[in-house]
Each structure stands twice: as structure tokens, then as C-alpha cells.
């Protein structure tokens, strides 16, 4: 077993070239579960812990974007100032595991594992995030929708490392809500992120844990935009919100498993979408 303690991305990608089978480990919160449950035998490891450039984030005022290093821990996302830039990401970060997990888990890990229950992923989907990848040979950017391919499957090549994620800084409400089978420290049974892009006049809605990968409720988004003016202020009634939730729920494909049932998950995302949309309208009302 070889363990490479990289300190720069350059070292990471050259190590990946040398050890193409190596596991990249950032926080280890997924890898160690696999190891402990005897589901994975890890041979070579490239540790990303000491790669400081992965743990930085910065706001680009000119382009109106936020670039978050793949190794920035949830503990940082859930607090100001970072959570002020992307409130939904802050809310999602607060639902991840226990404080110990949040101190080490990251979006890079969420994307690398690519579980449909990954708490950060619905937020990245609703924000149309860009995933930045690097290898020894090249660098490429992939839209998050093209990055997530299926249950624990993504578009990252074996020689690539996820270095950062870019999301837009938006004006308007954004929120995340997650149903689990207890009130904290729980894997999602169903989750939703709703983002209101007030400048561009759209609402974007993504669901987690109700399909093999994150679902964008695009038909419901279009349906809403056709009925409600979403530029700047948003005003809607409860019936619209309810129908929006129900339409959106039709776009997911949940399953029965030991955590919940397909019927409940479908129902839950409808309720979450309705409530998030009402919160968006409410916030708009309050801001005016």
C-alpha cells in the first residue's frame, strides 16, 4: 500500500498518472465506511488533506461567481461568510452528518462519491454549478448535470481530480430542505433545493435521493415560469405552489428501500417543493 501525501494539485495529478488505481481521499468519510464494512480494499491512496489550494474559496465580483475548492469542509460552508454567498449550500451543509463529519467532508467528496443522497448535490444542480477537473494532461470544466451520471457514477476520469466548483451568486431566495428519518445526523430520504434567480426571472428546483442521480424538475420550472412572473418580485398563491410541488414530484423516480418508500419519497418532495416555493415568495414579500 502506498500513501501519497500531496501538497499541491500538480503533485496529485502526477501521482494519479503513476498510480492510476489510487483512491483519492479528502475527508475519508465515504472511503473509511467502505473500508470498515469490508466493501473496499484500498491499496494506494492519494491524500488531498494537505493540498491547501483545494481548501480555498473566493468570490469573483466581475463574473458574479463563487469558486469553492473541492476540499473546503462543510463546517466552513455552514458558517458566515461563506453561507451568506450561497445560503442553500449553507443549509445543506448543516444537515451533513455530525460536526466531526462536517469538519472533514467536502463537495469534492460528495461529487466523487456521487450518491443520489449526497447533501450538497441538489444545491449544485439547482445552481447549474460547474465542476473543474484537472489531470496531468489537461484541465476541463463540466456542468454538474453532465458530471453526475448515475448511482455512484460520475464523469471524472481515473487520472483526474476534482479541484473546485463554481456557482453563480444570485439575487433571490434559495433554500434547501431534507427529510430524514430522524431530526439530525441522518442520510437523506428525500431532499430538495429551490433557487430563485430574480435577475433572470427563473426558479430552479432539484431533488436528491429520489432517483439514481440528482433530478432537476425542469418541466415544473417551465410550468411555473409560464404562470408566474419571476423577474424581481414573485407573487403566487398556495394553489400554484401546491400544483408546482405535485408536478415536480412527477419528475422523480424514487425507489423503496430500507430508509423509506417510493410513495413517501414522491409525496415528500412534492411537499418540500411547495414549501420552498412559498418560502421564496414570502422572502420576496419581506424584502420589498
Amino acid at each position: 500500500m502506498t500513501v501519497i501525501n500531496a501538497t499541491t494539485v500538480d503533485q496529485v495529478v502526477s501521482a494519479l498518472r503513476e498510480y492510476p488505481q489510487a483512491r483519492l481521499v479528502q475527508g475519508g468519510t465515504d472511503v473509511m465506511v467502505e473500508v470498515n464494512l469490508n466493501r473496499a480494499r484500498v491499496h494506494d491512496v492519494i491524500s488531498l488533506r494537505r493540498v491547501n489550494e483545494l481548501r480555498r474559496w473566493h468570490v469573483d465580483e466581475e463574473s458574479g461567481t463563487l469558486r469553492i475548492g473541492a476540499g473546503v469542509p462543510y463546517a466552513e460552508m455552514e458558517r458566515a461568510p461563506l453561507c451568506l454567498h450561497v445560503p442553500a449550500l449553507g443549509e445543506a451543509a448543516r444537515t451533513v452528518g455530525a460536526p466531526q463529519i462536517r469538519a472533514t467532508g467536502s463537495l469534492g467528496g460528495n461529487l466523487g462519491t456521487c450518491s443520489p443522497a449526497g447533501d450538497g448535490l441538489p444545491v449544485l444542480s439547482a445552481l447549474d454549478a460547474i465542476v473543474h477537473l484537472r489531470s496531468a494532461d489537461d484541465a476541463r470544466d463540466v456542468v454538474v448535470h453532465d458530471f453526475m451520471l448515475g448511482v455512484k457514477q460520475n464523469a471524472k476520469r481515473a487520472d483526474e481530480v476534482i479541484v473546485a466548483i463554481t456557482v453563480p451568486l444570485l439575487v433571490g431566495f434559495q433554500g434547501y430542505a431534507k427529510v430524514g428519518m430522524r431530526n439530525a445526523m441522518v442520510i437523506s430520504a428525500a431532499s430538495a433545493c429551490l433557487v430563485h434567480d430574480a435577475d433572470n426571472g427563473n426558479v430552479r428546483l432539484a431533488f436528491g435521493a429520489v432517483a439514481p442521480t440528482i433530478v432537476r424538475a425542469r418541466a415544473a420550472e417551465v410550468w411555473l415560469a409560464e404562470r408566474v412572473s419571476l423577474r424581481n418580485s414573485m407573487s403566487l398563491d398556495g394553489a400554484i405552489a401546491r400544483e408546482f410541488g405535485q408536478l415536480a414530484a412527477k419528475e422523480c423516480a424514487p425507489i423503496d428501500d430500507h430508509r423509506s418508500t417510493a410513495d413517501y419519497r414522491r409525496h415528500a418532495v412534492a411537499v418540500l417543493a411547495e414549501r420552498l416555493l412559498l418560502r421564496a415568495a414570502e422572502k420576496q414579500g419581506r424584502d420589498e
Partner: protein, 756 residues
């Protein structure tokens, strides 16, 4: 307390600090998994992936070929009895020709490293012929499935028949209830270190267990050794809750040590632990309650079916607890109860805190609420109207001689303050859904529910579960010895408190907890304060008698006039006052005492007989907030008044109450081992969910202190009652908030959203 100095002494009635408390919070306490020996090997267990299969062959050659693997053992290597069991010896040390549950041990290996051992397990080839599995308890009863064990598919059937069987009440309410499989989920996983004697004819075992002498008996039988050649010392235990009463890795570990002549260490991870110990019985209970129009309970009818899983464990005792507690803490003269506990190819079930009464209580308390509605009474009034009193007769014909302050438990619970109403803009974390931010104030409805329970204390049906303790006074220091398993309940501090109180000496040392002294019985059935407490008290009193005899002779005073006041020996009829430390100088006093509870009887075929020793009672009131649209629940507050006899250590008592409530809450709303075709789907703490701090309610408590005359210290057992009626109280509160029937626990979000 007689003297002012007593307040600073850690005697009975004070919140004396546990000797293991500081080491535990500082991480210095040695749990069983922390024990090491030079030159030791690591043991590991191969388990069946199938719930029911025939073993055609086992090929261990691949494992033995791995560098570092010392030995692989199977059923063929068991020198003595091939099976063990707490009540009937029906569970194989290793499956020989057939496996009866997914997770059953098939072989064990010893290797130089845990990872080597793990690889060795992967290299063992077992050829299974998969058989159809018996998974439905009713099929075990109706005989439609061939016996899956030589002992048959019905482990026990017990009726309780009393009174006029043709009686029909003015009002009848009916219900069918179901409980899922709960896990003890103790901390400090199964672990042991076995050291073989040099001559290979004996073994020393350090193990986390609940009952050292029962382990010793079963291990010795399987190893074909005399009892005294199996010496057991308790390893540090995190918790137990019934889950360590059965043999898990003990025989495997000893056997590997004897075969390899090397120390063997074994420890389960959390996942293996779910397969390595028994669970709480899933059950279905159908009940009819008959009452007069005014709500007077007249007759209970019940049919209870408990799924015991593949092996008997304590199933037969769990069943009689269920059927004999089916009336709840209420007067009732007529009973028609039929209970079954059956064998299936599900994981084995056995002891867990509440022991059969949890299941009965969920059913009878749900019924009492139905009865209240049918009679136009409140949940409190229906319970007060029927509350049992000392001297009432149970449906078994046994008279309740215990203090039975049921009415007081209910009234004092009702008198505890209700929680504040929800704020207009509450902290989202306090709402159902918690950190998931699913709800706003307007989504929430609040409900209130009640549960009251009766629980037997100690073992039943003629079993003499005595306890032994030894007290030695030398050089002004007391040393206590007992085999009482300390599993977190705090007997180690209670024993010190007893000795300080009885003998007036503050330095109380504890010998290792081991089989070097007689049995203390199991740390279960809410029995150790009563039983081992009685034994320590008895041994200390014998020493005190000798001390008084010595002081009497020295000072020419009748020893009968002497008492201990704080730390002095005092002549109650004269002026003599001498410090115990001075009086005892040069003396070595050493006494051993066995405490036995009064004899009990077996039940007859109609379930009649004085089968239980004593009873304790408790009332719970639950306040919950529910988000009905999402089916999410937050238990806001539990109020409880518990019949404890006497509080011996207020902090420890509160800990038992709060912990039991958390465990009962777990069963009410989240804790369940999910089985699909006999296989566990969630054997981890990722998916077997325990309450977190955000799920745990505020607990407001009144301890009802009416000393129990039968109990050596006046104190009843307090471990089990907190977790019993809190479950139905929480479910009743959810019903109150939602109007849903909710006949199954744990209540799942989909039950609230889609249920009737």
C-alpha cells in the same frame, strides 16, 4: 441523616460519584476491546449469508494456506456440548449441517492480524444448498412449515385464563398491534480476550458480559471442562440492555485459545454486532377490552405472537412476561390470553430492557385510549378509574403485594408542568424535521398522550436468581467482592454507598468482578440493586455484627445497643462513641452473604400461579409536535412519575429514567431492524437510527418514594420501567395530533402521511 458530616459522605441517598465515571469521560477506562496480551492472535467469525440453508461442505484449505493464519475451527472442533442456550441448549456453537439465520456462525479463524483473519474468512469455501425460509410467525404456529429445528417451531405457547369466559362487556374495543425488531445498540461492542492455561486444560476469559456465571456454565459445557477451569473476569462494558445475556463470541474465543495455545482476542465491529447478539422480539398482538359503560375494565382478551427467530434464547420467559402483564397496571378480573413465541429463520430474539412487557404495554395502552374514547372519558380518567392497588389480584391469580402507587404515578405525572407552547417563530431546529429545515410553525400540530405500565422485577417462574457478595474489613479499609456485571447501570458506586452507610468507613475498594466468587445472577430484570444490593448489604451487616461484638467485648457493652452513626460506633443507651476506624484497628473481618428473593411458582396450563417476585409502576405523559404533511415528529417533552421505592443515588436514578425514555422513544419513532427475506438491511448506525440530542425530549421527573418492604434497601429496580410505557405515550400523542390510528411501532413518516 443523623449527623451533619453525613452530607459530605458518599452514602446511600447521595449522588455519589461513580468510580468508573471520570475514567470513562476522560477516555481512560479500559473496555473489553482494550485488553491485550503478549503473543496474542486475532479471532474472527465466518457467518452464514443465508437465513436457511444446508451446509454441503466446508473447505478451509484456502484459509489455512494464507501466511499468518494459525487455525480454522468448525463444529467438528467443539470438544463438548455442540449447543448452548440460556434456557434450552438449542443454539449451535457453529452450524454443522444447517444454518437457520443469516449471520449464524459457521467457522472461526485465528490469525496474526485482524486483516489476515478477515482474508482467511473470505478464503473459506462453504457449499450451501439454500432452503426456503420460515419467515412468517403464523406459519410456525399453523404447522404449514416443516420443523426447522429438532425442538420444533413453537418455542412456547402459554395461556392465561381467569374468570367467567362467557362474559361480554357493555363496551368492547378491539385492536391489532404490531412492533418491529429493536436492537439494544449498546456501546462497547462484543469483545473478549481468552488466555489458555499452560496445561491446556483450562482458560481464563476477559469478556464484556451481563452474567459471568451463566457464561461460565455454558462455556464449560461446550469445552467439556469442569466449571472451575473456566475463569471469567468482566472486561469493561459500555452497555448491555439484555444484548449481552446470551453467548456471542465467548466459546469461539476460548476454543481458539485452547487449540492454538495462544491468547486470542476477538471483537465485533458494529455491523457484526447486529448479527452477534439477539434483539427485541417483533410481535403482533390482537386485543379486545370489555368494560362497563362507566369505563370499569372487566375483561381482557389477547392473542400475542412473538417471533423468536432461529433459536430459543430467553424467548419462553419473554413470552410469559408478555402474557402475564397483558392487563397493564389495571384491575381486571377476567382474562383470556393466548401467547405464542415461535421459531423462524429470522435473527434470534431474546432479552431487551422491558422483556416482553414493552410489547404487551404498547397493545394494552393503545386499548385503554380506545376504551376512554368509547366511554367518553379522558385518557387520564380511564386510567385512574382502573388503577391497580396493593392487594389487587392479577390475571394470574397472584396478589400484588408490592407497593402499587399507580394512582399516585398518574396524578403526579399530570401535575408536572406542560411544556411552553410553540413560539410564533420557533428555532427551526426545534421543529419536526430538525436540521432538515422542512417545517414552519404553521405546519405543526401538537398532541398529548399517556402511557402507564407495570413491570415485574427479578426472575420469575420458580427461578432462584440469588446474588452473592463478600465484605472484608481490614486495616480500616473495606474491600467488596461480587460477580455483579457492571454494564453501565452503576452498581459499582451503589455497592460503595451501601458499605459506607452500613459500616461507617469511607474507603471502599472493589475486587475485580469475576467468577472467583459465587454468582450474582444477571444484570437484567431490574434486579441488581435489589439482589446484589441485598447481598452487599447482608455481607456488610455480618461484618458489622462482628465489629459490634468486638467493640462490645472491649468496652463491656451489649453489642445489641451499638449502632453506626456516620463514621462512629455509638452506644444508643450509654455514652460510648468510638470511631469505626479506631474500633476496627487490628481486626480482619471477612463475610460472604447470599441474597435470595422469595420463592415463586411456575404457571399452570391456564397461566395461574404466583410466578413473579415483585412489581414496579410508572406513568408517562408525552407531548409531541407533528408535521402531518411530512409525517415527521419531534417529541417535545416526557413527564414521568416513577415508583422507585427509594432513591439511593439521585443522579444515577435520573440517568436511568432519561436513558430509558430515549430508548422507548427510539422504539416509538425510529429504531427498527429492517428485515427483507430474513436478511438485515440496516446493520449499521448509519441506517439503524438512534435518537440524537435533537430527537431527545425534555424530561420532567417525579420519583415516587414509597419504600418497598420486601426489598432489602427499600428500593425497587428502576432500569426497565422508564422505557416501557413511554412508547405508547408517544404514539398516543401522535394519534392525538393527527387523528391517525397508528397501530405499529416504530411509527414511520409514511404511516402518518398515508395511514388511516
Amino acid at each position: 441523616m443523623a449527623t451533619t458530616t453525613a452530607t459530605s459522605r458518599a452514602t446511600l441517598g447521595t449522588s455519589a460519584v461513580r468510580p468508573d465515571g471520570l475514567p470513562k469521560v476522560q477516555g481512560r477506562f479500559a473496555f473489553a476491546s482494550d485488553v491485550w496480551a503478549d503473543n496474542m492472535l486475532w479471532g474472527a467469525t465466518l457467518r452464514s449469508p443465508h437465513p436457511h440453508a444446508r451446509i454441503r461442505s466446508i473447505d478451509v484449505s484456502g484459509a489455512l494456506a494464507i501466511n499468518g493464519v494459525s487455525v480454522v475451527i468448525t463444529a467438528d472442533d467443539v470438544p463438548g456440548q455442540l449447543t448452548y442456550g440460556l434456557i434450552t441448549s438449542d443454539q449451535p456453537v457453529f452450524a454443522r449441517d444447517v444454518v437457520r439465520y443469516a449471520g449464524e456462525p459457521v467457522a472461526a479463524v485465528a490469525a496474526d492480524h485482524p486483516e489476515t483473519a478477515r482474508r482467511a474468512l473470505d478464503a473459506i469455501r462453504v457449499d450451501y444448498e439454500v432452503l426456503s425460509a420460515l419467515l412468517d410467525a403464523e406459519q410456525a404456529i399453523d404447522g404449514s412449515f416443516a420443523a426447522i429445528h429438532p425442538d420444533g417451531n413453537v418455542i412456547r405457547n402459554q395461556r392465561v385464563i381467569r374468570g367467567d369466559q362467557s362474559f361480554v362487556g357493555d363496551i368492547i374495543v378491539e385492536g391489532s398491534y404490531e412492533l418491529g425488531m429493536q436492537d439494544q445498540a449498546f456501546l462497547g461492542l462484543e469483545a473478549a480476550l481468552a488466555l489458555p492455561d499452560e496445561d491446556g486444560a483450562g482458560v481464563e476469559l476477559f469478556v464484556a458480559t451481563q452474567w459471568l456465571h451463566e457464561d461460565q456454565k455454558q462455556i464449560a459445557a461446550c469445552l467439556d471442562m469442569p466449571l472451575e477451569r473456566v475463569r471469567i473476569t468482566l472486561g469493561g462494558v459500555g452497555g448491555a440492555f439484555g444484548g449481552r445475556e446470551d453467548i456471542s463470541l465467548q466459546v469461539h474465543c476460548c476454543l481458539l485459545a485452547l487449540v492454538t495455545r495462544r491468547p486470542i482476542k476477538m471483537q465485533y465491529g458494529r455491523e457484526e454486532s447486529f448479527f452477534g447478539h439477539i434483539h427485541r422480539h417483533p410481535a403482533r398482538i390482537v386485543m379486545h377490552h370489555h368494560a362497563d359503560r362507566d369505563g370499569t375494565l372487566r375483561r381482557v382478551e389477547a392473542r400475542a405472537v412473538f417471533d423468536g427467530g432461529a433459536y430459543a434464547s430467553t424467548s419462553s420467559a419473554v413470552l410469559i412476561n408478555a402474557v402475564t402483564h397483558m392487563q397493564g397496571p389495571y384491575r381486571c378480573d377476567i382474562a383470556t390470553v393466548d401467547g405464542y413465541v415461535v421459531r423462524t429463520n429470522n435473527p434470534p430474539c431474546g432479552a431487551m430492557r422491558g422483556f416482553g412487557v414493552v410489547q404487551a404495554c404498547f397493545a394494552h395502552e393503545s386499548q385503554m385510549d380506545k376504551l376512554a374514547i368509547a366511554c367518553g372519558l379522558s385518557p387520564v380518567d380511564i386510567r385512574l378509574k382502573n388503577a391497580m392497588r396493593t392487594g389487587d389480584r392479577l390475571i394470574t391469580g397472584q396478589i400484588v403485594e408490592s407497593v402499587a402507587p399507580v394512582e399516585r404515578c398518574i396524578r403526579e405525572t399530570a401535575a408536572l408542568p406542560m411544556p411552553a407552547p410553540l413560539l410564533d417563530e420557533p428555532d427551526a431546529l426545534d421543529l419536526p424535521g430538525g436540521s432538515g429545515l422542512t417545517a414552519r410553525r404553521s405546519n405543526i400540530r401538537r398532541g398529548v398522550g399517556w402511557g402507564v405500565s407495570i413491570k415485574n422485577l427479578m426472575y420469575s417462574e420458580g427461578f432462584d436468581d440469588y446474588a452473592t457478595a463478600r465484605c472484608r474489613l481490614a486495616d480500616g479499609v473495606i474491600t467488596l467482592q461480587f460477580a455483579t456485571a457492571e454494564v453501565g447501570q452503576g452498581f459499582v458506586v451503589l455497592a460503595q454507598q451501601i458499605a459506607r452507610t452500613v459500616l461507617g468507613i469511607d474507603t471502599v475498594l472493589l475486587e475485580p468482578i469475576s467468577t472467583a466468587i459465587g454468582s450474582a445472577g444477571s444484570t437484567s430484570a431490574s434486579r441488581q440493586t435489589w439482589m446484589s444490593g441485598g447481598a452487599v448489604d447482608g455481607a456488610c451487616r455480618l461484618v458489622r455484627e462482628q465489629l459490634f461484638a468486638h467493640v462490645g467485648a472491649t468496652h463491656d457493652v451489649d453489642p445489641l445497643r451499638l449502632v453506626i452513626e456516620a463514621t462512629d460506633v455509638v452506644d444508643t443507651m450509654g455514652t460510648l462513641r468510638v470511631a469505626v476506624a479506631d474500633a476496627a484497628r487490628g481486626l480482619v473481618l471477612d463475610e460472604t452473604f447470599e441474597h435470595h428473593h422469595r420463592a415463586t411458582e411456575e404457571l399452570d396450563e391456564n397461566g395461574q400461579g404466583n410466578c413473579h417476585v415483585a412489581f414496579a409502576f410508572v406513568a408517562h405523559r408525552a407531548v409531541v409536535d407533528v408535521d402531518p404533511d411530512l409525517g415527521l415528529v419531534k417529541v417535545v417533552q416526557i413527564a414521568t412519575a416513577q415508583d422507585v421505592g427509594r432513591v439511593l443515588n439521585p443522579l444515577a436514578a435520573l440517568g436511568q429514567v432519561e436513558g430509558g425514555i430515549a430508548q422507548g422513544l427510539g422504539l416509538a419513532v425510529m429504531e427498527e431492524i429492517v428485515l427483507v427475506n430474513g436478511k438485515m438491511r440496516n446493520p449499521s448506525f448509519t441506517d439503524y437510527l438512534l435518537p440524537t440530542a435533537l430527537d431527545a425530549p425534555d424530561v420532567v421527573v417525579t420519583m415516587i418514594e414509597e419504600p418497598e418492604p420486601q426489598a432489602p434497601l427499600g428500593a425497587k429496580g428502576i432500569g426497565e420501567p422508564p422505557c416501557i410505557s413511554v412508547t405508547p405515550a408517544i404514539v398516543a400523542a401522535i394519534r392525538d395530533a393527527t387523528g391517525k390510528a397508528l397501530t405499529r411501532v416504530p411509527v414511520r413518516p409514511q404511516d402518518i402521511v398515508f395511514g388511516d
